[in-house]
């Protein structure tokens, strides 16, 4: 499952980031690495970007960026 499929209120465990672009490195630096918990907080009023809570910080990502992050949903 990809992070962009996570709906507001849902929580997941990060599996990893695909790709080796600077963006992917940045995402890993922010904390999108294996084992960390991520929660989807809210969508922007216009639908995009979406805010996620990772390592106690709220980070907003556009869909084109959040679909690089693989997750496993926590039920």
């Amino acid at each position: 499952m990809l992070l962009c499929d996570l709906l507001p209120g849902e929580t997941a465990i990060v599996k990893g980031v695909s790709g080796k672009t600077p963006l992917c490195r940045r995402l890993k630096d922010i904390g999108f690495t294996n084992g960390n918990t991520v929660t989807c907080i809210m969508n922007s009023p216009l639908g995009e970007p979406t805010a996620y809570c990772i390592l106690d910080t709220i980070i907003a990502l556009r869909q084109g960026d959040s679909n690089k992050i693989h997750i496993k949903k926590v039920i």
């Binding site: 904390g31 809210m42 922007s44 639908g47 805010a51 390592l55 106690d56 556009r62």
Partner: protein, 632 residues
């Protein structure tokens, strides 16, 4: 937000590292993630007023300051925030190079107590290359409120380096930090290899950071987090985001207008009653009558006008804006508007730089460094001066209260709404220009966008007001006065030098008049805008001076008298409207242009930045004037 004395004092990295330090001096680098309060700690230690704001990327260049502790001079270097030593943007590169160069004797890694795990990941990276590292946990007071406690002793043991808990805002634990810096400096450690090729594997480091935080940090119920989410529901909610944004904008203007009226009147009365005294004084000490006239009715009058009309709105708008900035609302604006910017193929962070532009365009242009993509940064720089800066607000306010609403009470609300419409127009123009630029000269697709939404923080209202008045407003005003003196001289002289029975001013004005008339303006207004290049604040005073140049008006503190003067010189409602439009859209001020040249390093783009708003202004004024003339 604005340019100040201190932002000029702040040195770039090259200067900061090139300092000749006494061997007893200790050079300390303040590193850390973005928005963990490095600048707040820096200010608390040095007593300087480096700008702080509650959002990532507020500090874009390196600042240096020093203080004396126990007889030792400690030189602090505030470096921009970075998420890791794998730098992704220009300002992160500045940070990384500084940390890796090892020019600092001691590195203090500042962390936010609420987001320790991510912060400690950076600390671990830095500690691999620099052995004299101290961990400074900031916002410790706020953390307590959020139910977070940190076992600093245990953390210190696990990390193998000193850990100090401080509150930069409340000035807690700062002496302990200074003690540790001196102790750490005195420590003799084996020279450690510093290399730029260290591999900072994010996964490993994050895992280690997690182990440490799990062992040392306990979290209770986080009431602050829930409160923030409730606020977010309103400020970024589907139905409420746009209305609250507009409301905040309108309220800010309304407060500015209604609070500025009164001090404006008082200042005008005092300053203009002094005019006569000054004239008599100059006459008494033996100045020639012409010189007395020149100094009094040329120079002094323009300066008095600027101080009385421009100072109060500026002094009120600046702090109001800083309060919004400190609260953490600006990133929410970026969050709300990102989709629009994406549609224009620009970066959502452009909202942040646009907002900074409301304070000062030059500051907004420097702020564009937070945008990573070069193309998107150029778009943000070129469109920045489309929003009116603090220097242009008083002109808009003055004309609105002269020609569109007259009176007080409910009418100030109307004035605020009209001003809000003008601001919305300038924001709309920013979108249109961003779109057109990325369709033509700056072709490309939008890149990634990562924005941190910081926790809401209660702004320090009193401190903000004091700082913005003494630090920013007076500095900006000083710049305006310096620009006004020669401009006032030129206008007065040209209004009083006669060639073939005509004044020089009227010759110049009549030369520009045909062009001005097409735009619904006149030659004098265009001259004022041209002479206003060094500082936009002086445009309206210059128009006024040019009209009143020959005559010796008295009691000009009253707006109705000024209005009558303008009417006598052929102003109509369309002149007023077009002066406002032209002040929104014309060439950026000289400071902005110089900043654009510095940031882009190219004359071509500086020229585009000059031309684009000017062309927009000319087209808009031409069209409105045409429509007006067709109807009436």
């Amino acid at each position: 937000m604005g340019l100040t004395k201190n932002s000029h004092k702040s040195t770039l990295l090259q200067d900061a590292t090139g300092l000749k330090s006494n061997h007893r001096d200790i050079t300390v680098a303040l590193a850390g993630n973005p928005n963990v309060g490095k600048s707040t700690v820096f200010n608390a230690l040095t007593g300087m007023h480096q700008h702080t704001g509650n959002w990532s990327g507020k500090t874009v260049s390196t600042a240096k300051g020093s203080y004396i502790y126990l007889g030792r001079k400690i030189i602090l270097i505030d470096i921009p925030g970075t998420y890791s030593l794998n730098a992704n943007s220009a300002e992160e590169e500045v940070a990384r190079d500084f940390i890796l160069d090892g020019k600092a004797n001691v590195t203090v890694v500042v962390c936010d107590a609420a987001t320790l795990q991510r912060n400690i990941a950076l600390l671990l990276q830095i500690n691999q290359t620099n052995n004299k590292t101290i961990l400074c946990i900031n916002f410790i007071d706020e953390a307590k409120k959020r139910g977070i406690t940190v076992n600093t002793e245990k953390m210190s043991k696990m990390l193998g380096l000193p850990v100090v808990a401080v509150s930069g805002k409340k000035k807690l634990g700062l002496n302990t930090l200074s003690d540790e810096i001196i102790k750490m400096h005195a420590l003799i450690l084996p020279e450690q290899k510093t290399t730029k090729t260290v591999d900072f594997s994010a996964t490993q480091i994050n895992a280690r950071a997690k182990v440490i935080c799990d062992a040392c940090v306990t979290k209770g119920e986080n009431k602050g987090f829930l409160k923030d989410r409730k606020l977010d529901k309103i400020l970024t909610g589907k139905l409420t985001a746009a209305p609250t944004m507009l409301l905040l904008l309108a309220v800010t203007f309304w407060l500015t207008i209604s609070a500025a009226n009164y001090p404006s009147d008082i200042l005008a009365n005092i300053l203009f009653s002094f005019e006569k005294v000054l004239y008599n004084f100059l006459e008494k000490i033996g100045f020639h009558a012409n010189l007395c006239n020149l100094l009094t009715y040329g120079v002094y009058r323009v300066v008095a006008w600027i101080v009385s009309v421009m100072l109060p709105p500026m002094a009120i708008f600046f702090p109001l804006f800083s309060i919004l900035e400190d609260s953490g609302y600006l990133p929410r604006i970026a969050f709300n508007l990102d989709k629009c910017f994406k549609k224009c193929r620009a970066c959502g962070k452009q909202s942040l730089t646009m907002c900074m532009g409301f304070g000062c365009n030059a500051a907004g242009i420097i702020g564009c460094r937070i945008i990573d993509s070069k193309r998107e940064r150029l778009i943000a720089i070129l469109t920045n001066s489309l929003v009116p800066c603090n220097g242009r607000f008083p002109l808009l306010l003055g004309i609105i209260s002269m020609f569109f609403v007259v009176g007080e009470g409910l009418d100030t609300l109307k004035a605020a709404l009209i001003l809000t419409c003008f601001i919305l127009l300038s924001i709309l123009m920013t979108f249109i220009c961003s779109f057109l630029l990325s369709k033509t000269v700056l072709k490309g697709m939008p890149t990634s966008f990562i924005l941190e939404l910081p926790p809401y923080r209660k702004p320090q209202i009193f401190k903000t007001i004091i700082h913005s008045v003494f630090d920013r407003t007076l500095f900006v005003l000083g710049r305006a006065v310096i620009a006004a003196i020669p401009a006032g001289l030129i206008i007065w002289l040209s209004a009083n030098i006669f060639i073939n029975g005509q004044t020089l001013l009227s010759i110049c004005a009549s030369f520009l008049d045909p062009f001005g008339k097409i735009l619904g303006l006149d030659g004098v207004i265009l001259i004022a805008f041209i002479l206003g290049l060094p500082a936009n604040e002086i445009v309206l005073p210059l128009i006024f001076l040019a009209y009143s140049g020959g005559s010796l008006l008295t009691d000009i503190g009253d707006l109705t008298i000024i209005k009558n003067l303008f009417l006598e010189n052929g102003w109509s409602i369309i002149t007023a409207l077009n002066v406002m439009l032209f002040s929104l859209f014309h060439w950026p001020c000289a400071t902005s242009l110089l900043t654009i040249k510095k940031e882009t390093g190219s004359f071509k783009w500086t020229f585009v930045a000059f031309l684009m708003p000017t062309v927009i202004g000319i087209i808009l004024c031409f069209v409105t004037n045409l429509i007006y003339n067709l109807i009436i």
